[in-house]
């Protein structure tokens, strides 16, 4: 891939502006929480700002200055994500609403990715296409499950995407324009990887935040699935970067011998799942 540092700088600056704009409703909501819990407000504000900074950094690392995701589905995703979730309700409900907002974002992202020829088209790698289809369906089920849990608490369902991450995704999708199939596939995988890792880290943390046993069990039943998505995407990303897309295949074990050694462990870089990139608990809560 070739890099254009000036274009990247502009991209990041615009992204950060958009991100800051998107964060404003979250901050305003947090301001509203002052009356209820002053200390809680400070913590949340700090968390949201940290999240913003982390993902501006993540965007830089993910896309590395290359031309990114293609325009084909970009406009559609921007439209889908035009109105993001904002915030408020009981603590468990808020945590669940944030989780639903992350799932909604993931569904929209995979849906758009599948409209791209190198992800869902005839020329796409079959394993990647199947993975995107299955994973999108799983995220839809996760969103439904979170919303069912919210309903059981008497809360409002969350059908909008996570407000803090929407600008990052929008920007990434817009920048797909002009990408080759290889560049585009790598960009989509990088974006999906970032979203999946946020989901997994958030849910690991959420198991310690929610109070009810059933909600702990729900997060525990989903966090590992998201972590598996991360593992697969890390392996796919490594093979794409190694210019060996033909090895992204599901076939008889005999062909396993063709895989490079590092394909065996690139999918699980840590012995303990981290939570430093977890989304703040109330970030996607319904107002």
């Amino acid at each position: 891939m070739t890099a254009d540092p000036r274009a990247l700088a502009e991209l990041l600056e615009e992204s950060q502006d958009l991100h800051a704009d998107a964060m404003r409703p979250t901050h305003e909501t947090l301001d509203e929480l002052v009356e209820r819990s002053h200390s809680s407000r400070d913590d949340d504000l700090r968390s949201n700002l940290d999240f913003h900074e982390d993902h501006a950094r993540g965007l830089r690392q993910t896309f590395g200055g290359a031309t990114l995701l293609g325009a084909a589905g970009g406009a559609a995703l921007v439209g889908v994500l035009a109105s993001a979730a904002s915030a408020s309700s009981s603590k468990d409900a808020q945590v669940l609403q944030t989780a639903a907002s992350i799932e909604n974002l993931a569904v929209a992202t995979y849906k758009t990715a599948l409209t791209l020829p190198y992800i869902g088209g005839a020329t796409a790698n079959g394993v990647v296409t199947k993975f995107a289809q299955v994973t999108m369906g799983q995220h839809a089920q996760h969103a439904d499950a979170f919303n069912s849990a919210i309903a059981s608490l008497g809360g409002k369902p969350q059908h909008k995407p996570d407000p803090a991450f929407v600008p990052v995704v929008n920007k990434a999708v817009k920048s797909l324009s002009g990408a080759t199939a290889a560049q585009g596939a790598l960009g989509v995988v990088g974006l999906a990887l970032e979203l999946e890792n946020i989901a997994a880290e958030t849910y690991v943390k959420d198991t310690t935040l929610v109070r009810s046993i059933s909600n702990k069990a729900l997060f525990a039943s989903i966090m590992g699935i998201e972590a598996q998505h991360v593992a697969v995407l890390l392996a796919v990303q490594a093979l794409l970067k190694a210019d060996a897309p033909q090895l992204i295949s599901l076939s008889e074990p005999a062909t396993l011998e063709a895989l490079p050694a590092s394909a065996g462990n690139v999918g699980f870089p840590n012995a303990f799942y981290q939570t430093s990139n977890a989304a703040p608990a109330k970030q996607g809560a319904v107002k």
Binding site: D243, L259, N265
Partner: protein, 272 residues
């Protein structure tokens, strides 16, 4: 779906992936290990005052036993016990419990910590045995990706065991150095039947499934927040092991039903 039949020259990619793995290993030691000790430290603090929960340990033990028993039923093992000799040799490294387990005096979250350590010890034993058998040429040709998988998974399980043992030690309790007594006979018996790398991968899969399901179940049952956090930080890693095991076995790379249908919610049935 494309087939992985084309044997490509991966010399360049191998170099790149090796470098990437080295970076990940550095990251692992820079980030994961300190994080582990921070997590353990938090758990130690958080477990002070955790109440006893006698039924948890029993469910945990029964669950893991059921998990591996069901996993064993799915194993496609050869009729010739080609690894029997290797299994006998590694048995000398096994440290089986010769008394009640978990030890008397451990209740509630601490009892869970002891059982978790014993389960991790069993995984360490299984991977060590598998690597020893592979090195001895007992499993035929071992693809390089399998070697790195087993080595890394072994490292992870060793760290998981160390984390739980650090918790026990901090509370003045003895470290657990035995393999899980409920599961060990089953794993030994199944290991003795393994004749090739596919059989070994399936055995590893049953162990990883048992571990993941058990941690998943315990995450919603443990009392202290820190213990929940530690358990929750391990379950997704076991799930990642599972995904890559499926991938290298040529199957859909994620948790699935016995019919191969991917599932959106991981199950605790293997632990219940």
């Amino acid at each position: 779906m494309s087939k992985r039949t084309k044997n490509v020259d991966v010399a360049g990619s191998e170099t790149e992936l090796t470098a990437m793995t080295r970076d990940l290993d550095d990251l692992h030691h820079d980030v994961a290990v300190p994080s582990m000790w921070a997590g353990v430290s938090n758990m130690i603090d958080g477990m002070r005052g955790a109440t006893a929960r006698p039924t948890s340990r029993r469910v945990f033990l029964m669950g893991t036993g059921a998990a591996v028993a069901s996993g064993a039923a799915l194993l496609a093992v050869g009729s010739t016990p080609g690894l029997a000799a290797a299994a006998t040799r590694v048995e000398s490294h096994l440290h089986l419990a010769d008394a009640a387990f978990p030890p008397a005096g451990l209740e509630g979250d601490l009892a869970v910590a002891a059982v978790a350590a014993s389960l991790e010890n069993l995984a360490v034993f299984a991977y060590q045995s598998g690597l020893a058998a592979a090195t001895a040429g007992k499993l035929g040709t071992v693809p390089p990706a399998i070697g790195t998988f087993a080595t890394t998974a072994l490292s992870h399980h060793t760290q998981h065991a160390a984390a739980w043992n650090a918790v026990l030690k901090s509370r003045g309790k003895a470290k657990v150095t035995v393999t899980n007594p409920t599961l060990t006979p089953t794993i030994q018996a199944n290991f003795a039947k393994v004749t090739d790398i596919t059989g070994l991968a399936q055995l590893a899969l049953s162990l990883e499934n048992a571990a993941a399901a058990t941690y998943q179940a315990e995450t919603s049952k443990l009392k202290s927040t820190a213990a929940i956090g530690l358990s929750a930080s391990i379950e997704p890693v076991e799930m990642q092991h599972i995904a890559i095991l499926y991938y290298v076995m040529g199957m859909y790379p994620g948790s699935q039903t016995t019919a191969g249908t991917p599932i959106a919610f991981s199950s605790t049935s293997a632990a219940a």
